[in-house]
Amino acid sequence: MASNRSIPFAMLATSLLGCLSIQARTDAAASSATGLLVGKLVGETNFDRAWSAFTLYKDESNPILQEFSLQGRLQVHYADGNSDNGHFDIRDFKEASNANDQTVWGDNFEARRARLGFKSKWYQSWKLEGQIDADTTDGANKIYRSIYDLSLTYAPTDAMNVTVGKTKVKFGREQEISSKEILPFESSLISNLLFPGELTGVMVNGKGIQDYWTYELGVYGSDRVRTFSGYNEGTVTLGKIGYNYSSQSNLDTALASVQFMHNSAPGFKETDSDNFYSNSSPAFTDSIALTNDITMGRFGLITDILYGFGYRGTADQAGLENSLNQTDVFGISLIPSYFIASGLQLVGQLQWAISDSVQPASGSDPATTNLGLQSRYEKWAPSVIPNGDSYTSAYIGLNYYLYSHKLKFMNGIQYSTMDGGLAKSGQTASYDGYTFLSGLRFSF
C-alpha cells in the first residue's frame, strides 16, 4: 500500500517539476509563451479563454518544455429505470457494492467519471501525461482512488508513436472514442463485455502510412489493478489495421478498421483489499472487431461488429481458482447522430448481441456465463437474472453542447430486452425495461 500511496505524490511531483521548468523558461521572457503561469490566456471567446487557463504553460519555441496543462473530467448524471420486474435507480446501484458507493453523490446522482491529471510535451517529440480517478463523494477521506493512466509517448512523426505506461486499451471503435466525446451515456453491452481495461504495457501506433493506412500494436499486462499491472499474470495483445477512405468517398471523415485481441489470462482478477476494482479481465481468449466511423456534415455513424471467443477453464480470481465457462458472444452496435440545430445533436444507439444458450451446472462443469446486463443500470432491476443469450437495445437522446464536448448536457432514454436467462425460483429469465438518464459532462 505504501507504494500505492507514493504514486499520486510522484505524479504531483512531476507536475511541480514541470512548473519549475516553466518558471525557469519564463524568466527568459519568451514572448510567444501563453498559459496561466505566464498570465496570458488566449482565445476568441470567454469560453476559449476560460478553458485556456487549464494550460499552465505553452510555448512551441521552448526547446525543452513546449506545453504543460492540467486535464480532467467530471461526468455526473441522474438515472431512473423501470422494468417488468419493477423500478430501479442509482440507489440500487450504490447499494450493490462498496466500489459503486464510491461514485454516488447522495442517492440519486452518480459521478460516473471524476479524473484529474496533467499532460505535457517535452523536447518536441515526448509526451508525458497521467490522470487519477478521484473520489468526489461527501464522505471521502482522500481524493485519490486509483491511477487511471500514466504514460510516456515518443512521437517523432504521425507515422510512429511509441507509448510506455498505463493506458486505456481501446478495443473496438466505441472504446477508441474518449468518454469525453462518446455520444450516448454508455458504450454498448458487447463493447463493455470485451473491454480489457486500463493496463500497463507498450504500444506502437501510427497513421498516414501511404496516406491512408493506420496501425496499432500493443502488449499489456492483463491484470486490472489500482496502479500498474505486471506481466506475471498474463498479457493482452492488441493489433489493429485501419484505412482512412474519406478522400475516396467524399465523406468528411471515414475510417474503417480490423482489430484482433488475444488474452493469455482470461478471467484473471486481482485481489483488491479496498474493493475498488471489482472487474476481472474479460473471460475471452480472442476477440475480433470490425469498425467503421463516418461523418458527413451534420450526420455521423459509428459501427462496431464484435466477436469474442469464450474461455472455458480455470482462472485465478482474487486468490481463488474458479472454473469459468464463458460462451462465445457476437454483437453489433450502431450509433447514428445528427445535428438538428447549432449545438443540438440527436443521438441514437442500436445494439444487438447474442451468445450460446445458458447451460446449467452439470457434474464438474459450472453453469455457462454468456451476455450480462449493463451495470448502469439495468443489472439492478429487482429479481432479474442478469444474464441471457439475446440482448437488444435502442437508445435515443439529445446532447446540447455549451462548449463543444468540454461542457455539455445529455439526456436520453434506453429501452432494452434480455432473453434466455437461467431461471431460478423467484427470478425471471428475461429483462424488459427502460432507463432514463440526464447528465452534465465537463472536461478540460
Partner: protein, 268 residues
Amino acid sequence: MKTISILLTATMISMAGAQTLSIKGSDTLGAKLVPQLAEAFKATGNAGVKFEIAAEGSTTAFPALANGTAQIGMSSREVKDDERTFCRTKGVYIKEHPICYDMLCVIVNKNSPLAKLTKDQVAKIFTGQVKDWSEIGGAPGKISIYTRNTSSGTYKDWQKLAMGGRDYPSSSLKMAGNEQIAQEVAKNKNGIGYVGLAYAKTAGTKTVLIDGVEPVAANAKKYTYARLCYFYAPDKPSAEAEAFMKYVESDAGQDIVRKVGFIPAKDL
C-alpha cells in the same frame, strides 16, 4: 463560362455594398499568397470586398471558423478530428478545399559537389548529428546550417517534416526569410538551407535530390518535403467567401499561386 460566373457573383457582391471577408490561419499561405490573391480578386470588380487576413498559424483557423470570426480558414495541414468536432458542435460543418502544394527544397552552394541526399542524411545534418561534409561523402568542411527564425511556421514545419521533431543545433543560423537563406547559402560553399520552391533557383545555389526525387513541381506528390495546403470553409459559405474561393480555383487565381512559388493543386 467560369469567368462569367465569377463576374456575376462579384457584381452581386458589389451591389450589396462593402463586405468584409475574414480569413485566418496558416502563415505559409497568409504571408504572401492569400494577400496577393485578395488584391487580384479585388481588381476583378470586387473592390467593395474588404479583406481581413490574420496569418497566425494553421491551429488558429479552426477555432476562428467555429466561433464565426473567420469565413475561410487557411491550413498547411489537414484538419484534425478534434478540430472538426469542435466546429460541428458549434454548428459549423466545414468543407475542405485543397489549394496548392508547398514544397520545401534543400539547397546547397552551387560549387558543392553534392547532388543528392537521403532523408536520413538531411535529418542528421539539420539536427547537428553530422557536422562535416566529409562525413557524408562531400569535400571536407564544417557544415553551416541556415534556417528560418523561430517565429516562422516553416521553422517548426521543417522540424516535423525533416528532423523527426528534434531540435536544431545551437550553431544553426536563423534567417528572416527564404531570400536571406538563399543569399547566405550562395555566399558560403559549406552552406545548406531549405527554401520554398520559388527560391530554389536563386543564383549561386542548387537544389539536391532527396531519396532520388528532384524537387520540381511535377514531383510534389512524391517529394518527401511537400505538403498540400487547404482552405476550409463552412458547407454554406458566405457569398464573398464562395466568390473568393471560386476565384482562387480559376485559371487566373491558379496563375497567381504558381507565380508566388506554390504548386496549384489542380496541376497534379
